[in-house]
Symmetry: C2
Subunit: 273 residues, 2 copies
């Protein structure tokens, strides 16, 4: 059995940055089991004291002290958290002093900026992209393809929908979704609707066993989900990608974040906010 270590992510905002940095580090240690808990919106000394008590309780119950990853702007709150019995890693402490020196200016030490929506512009761009992904999911019009930043094409259940949504949320990218249906796959042409937009196309493919598994959850024992049909659809789709020089990637062993970042890079897309 692996040794267990408690981990606290403490933030004065959402906790997403502290989690993201902490997990990147913890993923480097395979042989330890980490028990994680996130405490967002710790933005007053009173709340900080509650968290200190929680960390101290955890510390008293375990042999090894807890790890504490924090993202806290207010110095007093940060200092309070550091009085706890955990091991503290604060990227503000690590970098903000250096940055102040480099930029020859003082940090404003005000919270709520990180993921805060300063202007509604950012929100609007994001919503536009989300609505784009939702309206175009599995049903697409020519007029709208013109507005797309990128068009993801692939067989049913190859991962287009979550990737489109992630591109919208994370980068404000308008990603359209073109499902390759059996008629498309029978033809040796690129689907007519896509022909004017070849430079926007990006293909998704997937391993046949994985596709069989995913489709079987939806429609068990169907022809649609059968291993043979999955294999055939995938190999025809990949042929199409190769024939028309459409860049494509295999989604089987990639996370949605990795797919989205790969597509941003390959399609030379710039985030919209």
């Amino acid at each position: 059995m692996k040794p267990v270590r408690q981990v606290f992510f403490v933030s004065d905002r959402t906790g997403i940055t502290a989690e993201s940095m902490g997990l990147a580090l913890l993923n480097q240690f395979d042989n330890i089991e980490f028990k994680r808990a996130t405490y967002p919106f710790v933005d007053t000394e009173a709340k900080a004291k509650e968290i200190v008590a929680l960390i101290n309780t955890a510390a008293s119950k375990c042999e090894a002290r807890p790890l504490v990853f924090s993202s806290i702007v207010d110095e007093n709150v940060r200092k309070l958290i550091k009085t706890s019995a955990g091991m503290h890693m604060s990227f503000y402490d690590a970098f903000i002093g250096e940055l102040e020196d480099e930029l020859a200016t003082e940090a404003n030490h005000s919270i709520g900026r990180t993921h805060g929506m300063h202007d509604t512009e950012r929100y609007d761009k994001r919503m536009e992209a989300i609505n784009f992904a939702l309206n175009h999911d599995d049903g697409i019009t020519d007029r709208e393809l013109q507005k797309a930043d990128v068009i993801l094409m692939g067989v049913s259940r190859s991962g287009k929908t979550p990737t489109c949504l992630y591109l919208a949320l994370q980068y404000g990218i308008r990603a359209a979704n073109y499902p390759l249906i059996p008629e498309d796959l029978e033809s040796s042409e690129l689907p007519r609707m896509l022909q004017p937009f070849r430079q926007k196309l990006y293909g998704l493919t997937i391993e046949a066993d994985r596709l069989h598994h995913i489709r079987s959850e939806r429609r068990p024992d169907s022809r649609y989900a059968s291993r043979d049909n999955c294999r055939r659809e995938i190999s025809t789709a990949e042929e199409m990608f190769r024939r028309f020089n459409i860049p494509f990637t295999n989604t089987t062993h990639k996370s949605i974040e990795e797919l989205a970042a790969s597509i941003m890079l390959a399609a030379k897309l710039q985030r919209r906010f």
Copy 2:
């Protein structure tokens, strides 16, 4: 005019962690304009050399050296990046040594773990939550409400859909979406369908001017979008939340990340992966 500073986010994976940490720090400096560029998948020495050249070119063109936030596991790649003329902030350098000491074990220094999909379990949970959010968007069945982790209710365009999607993607939470339509608002009762699930309800509200703006984009000059109607719908919805003790939050000045994290906290939800 604000002084301008170039910023490079360099990562061997998606760049999301480097961006997230870097932006949290940069948001502390209002009086400087940052020109950002992200370079994901920098995982070989050859790619690192290309980035070094880019940073050096930027440095030679500006008075102030570029800032470089990096998230790179491989020591050789990391060292190469640090030979560039930028100012370097690497959270691996800042913390991995301390962590190795604390955990009395060596980091495995292998990449691809951070957002990597190790088991398909994580992907499946995420997809399940996304499909849940999509299937239930603006049309919901009783049987499915039972499966929801949380049910977001609010007037049309109050921010339910993006919040549900973000809860699904970031936390694997199954969030259902219940739009309060005019008939719901005319009644003094809680909508019948929601009555068995009072402990799962969470309300979203919004400022009338903002709602008017959002609805006008969709249906300009309609009764639906009119300021008066927006005001009336919102105040009735808020009365309902108060009458039935439903926790609620105003989405107007919050980002989707903040909304999602607030709901996780208020509804005591645990992430599903």
